[in-house]
Symmetry: C2
Subunit: 356 residues, 2 copies
């Protein structure tokens, strides 16, 4: 009897590869004496979060409060929230969640710190979000970090617990040497911020950040005490394009299966997976199996994509692809599907769509 096949398009998880990736990063962090707090924005899955905690992670990161609520509801008990929360209704939810699990949050503005302090019913660990120059979130200078530290320290319920420093723009620099140089330069700035905080009486023992593109560099530079890497669990096309030199060798563990639904032109077939099946912010997927690996995918609207090349599979064939960017691709699916012996099993994408 042939192995069962999920209907396409399907988000496919290779559990064995996932387990090896989780173990490799856990071993790396343990070996370097670093805490590992993987970012759940990648997988949005309580099942995968549990595997990471079982392997030694101290907890998870979430990008949004809704993600944290969804994972907490499924038993994840230690979450750091990596984006500032400012809206009154969201602050009330954050305060409620802080009463249920071990939660920490970030702030990047004195007004936001004061509003958070007002909203809380219980003490909360708060980290200063330091902007490495991305200008997305975070205080913009050492002086602003010190001023914010004073506001946090004066809060009735806020506990100044450390610094967050995430070099998002540098994670995907393809050359390892260039990426290392960029992260080293940013880390010099982080050292200045930490020195200014220490000089003002705020010695920060906890510095969290890093990603799959930088964790080995962060470990070598020795300033971060906790790693937030997320994508290593799956390894999308974007990170496979990066030279991770010296790091554990992560394997692709996440795929999208598609079917050839039209084949009326030489050198081209149409797949049933398009913009609704792959995030489009980071280029195109690449073929893993079922068609030549050098065939080229092109988006053809919401529901279709073309494969171009020689030796393409016929009408009705299945093709397995590696998504270009795992995090927002996962967000398009309700569940991960896995072939387990001769049965199909599924894991819910617990926090899918939880951006609020």
């Amino acid at each position: 009897m042939p192995a069962p096949e999920p209907e396409t398009p399907a988000l496919i998880l290779d559990r064995a590869a996932l387990a090896r990736n989780i173990a490799a990063m856990a071993a790396f962090a343990a070996d370097r004496g670093l805490a590992l707090r993987p970012h759940a924005k990648t997988h949005k899955s309580a099942d995968i979060a549990r595997l990471q905690i079982e392997a030694g992670a101290v907890g998870l990161c979430c990008a949004k409060l809704g993600e944290a609520e969804a994972l907490a509801e499924q038993g994840v008990g230690d979450i750091h929230l990596t984006s500032p929360v400012v809206a009154p209704a969201a602050l009330a939810r954050l305060a409620a969640l802080a009463g249920r699990i071990r939660l920490s949050a970030v702030v990047d503005h004195p007004d936001a710190a004061a509003a958070l302090d007002d909203a809380l019913q219980t003490p909360l660990d708060v980290l200063i979000d330091v902007d490495p120059g991305t200008r997305r979130t975070g205080v913009a200078s050492a002086e602003a970090a010190v001023a914010l530290a004073r506001v946090i320290a004066s809060g009735a319920k806020l506990r100044l617990a450390g610094v967050q420093f995430y070099c998002g723009s540098q994670q995907h620099i393809e050359s390892f040497a260039d990426r290392r140089a960029a992260i080293a330069e940013k880390t010099d700035y982080l050292r200045q911020v930490l020195a200014a905080l220490a000089a003002a009486g705020f010695e920060m023992a906890h510095v969290t950040g890093g990603g799959t593109g930088s964790f080995a560099i962060d470990a070598e530079l020795g300033v971060l005490t906790e790693l937030q890497a997320g994508s290593y669990v799956f390894m999308d096309r974007e990170y496979r394009d990066c030279e991770l030199a010296g790091a554990p060798a992560f394997e692709p563990a996440l795929f999208v299966d598609a079917t050839v639904i039209s084949a009326n032109h030489p050198g081209m077939v149409t797949l049933d997976a398009g913009i609704k099946s792959f995030a489009t912010d980071a280029g195109v997927p690449v073929v893993w199996a079922g068609a030549p690996r050098d065939s080229r995918y092109v988006f053809m609207g919401d529901e279709q994509g073309a494969l171009l090349g020689d030796g393409l599979p016929p009408l009705g064939s299945r093709v397995r692809l590696i998504p270009p960017h795992c995090d927002p691709t996962v967000n398009l699916y309700d569940c991960y599907q896995m072939v387990d012996g001769d049965a199909l099993t599924a894991w819910r994408v617990t926090a899918r769509g939880r951006s609020a």
Copy 2:
């Protein structure tokens, strides 16, 4: 008491504008003696489908079988499926759905027609999908159309019911004159295909296609008998960039509300809506309210975007934006939210994520 505000990011529907858009297109089609079968790939909503049918639509289009199943389960009883279905498990589901509602399907290959005929338990209206040159789906020549018509006509359960012709690549040509010329050229080709089919004994009384960029041109050219336009219900930024000359004036009815969560740089604020809140295949959203309309949005990762410009709103403010491309943006949300007097109401995005 102030009007309630959904937590952000939120997909916001203006029901009054939606109702006016639905009425305007219904009146246009009725006035021209054309059937209107709006494409549900835009809204994925049984509630909106019902409003369209009440306004005179003959039924709905769906891009995928899963969409059709989801809408059928909520009472939509007449659906045309615009993409070919070929996988055996999907053909079995299609056959089951054909037993429950008034369904029609497309084919673009003799093998697919034969497989569909085998899978069916009941007769099914089948349309020949004619490729206007997009090379996504559809037969590639008049000869292929005739050959396919013969296979369909010889099927035990297939009923040859017409032709589908969707000029997807032409819908967003911004100049009306250029778009009109392109659609006219494609329609000349369609006339040749229809003539070849008629010469072979297949007179096609039913020709379905068109979109929000072409429906007025299609009506003028007089070959299509049924319009599949979908985006007119919402009018996204992409269609607002197009000159719809002479057509009914559709209004923006779909928005994304976001909150300023970081404001540490002059001329820039960070919103809590990024790649997970807007589809990224068609450029960037534009501001509708809450910030100057000429401020510029830039994606800043999965969960954030920046607004750049002068006179930006302060930390904690709400901003309302028009999404760049409505269909895949809607697919990112579980529900539409509406302010109804002093209460918030929500409509489910019935077919969200139903790509299989």
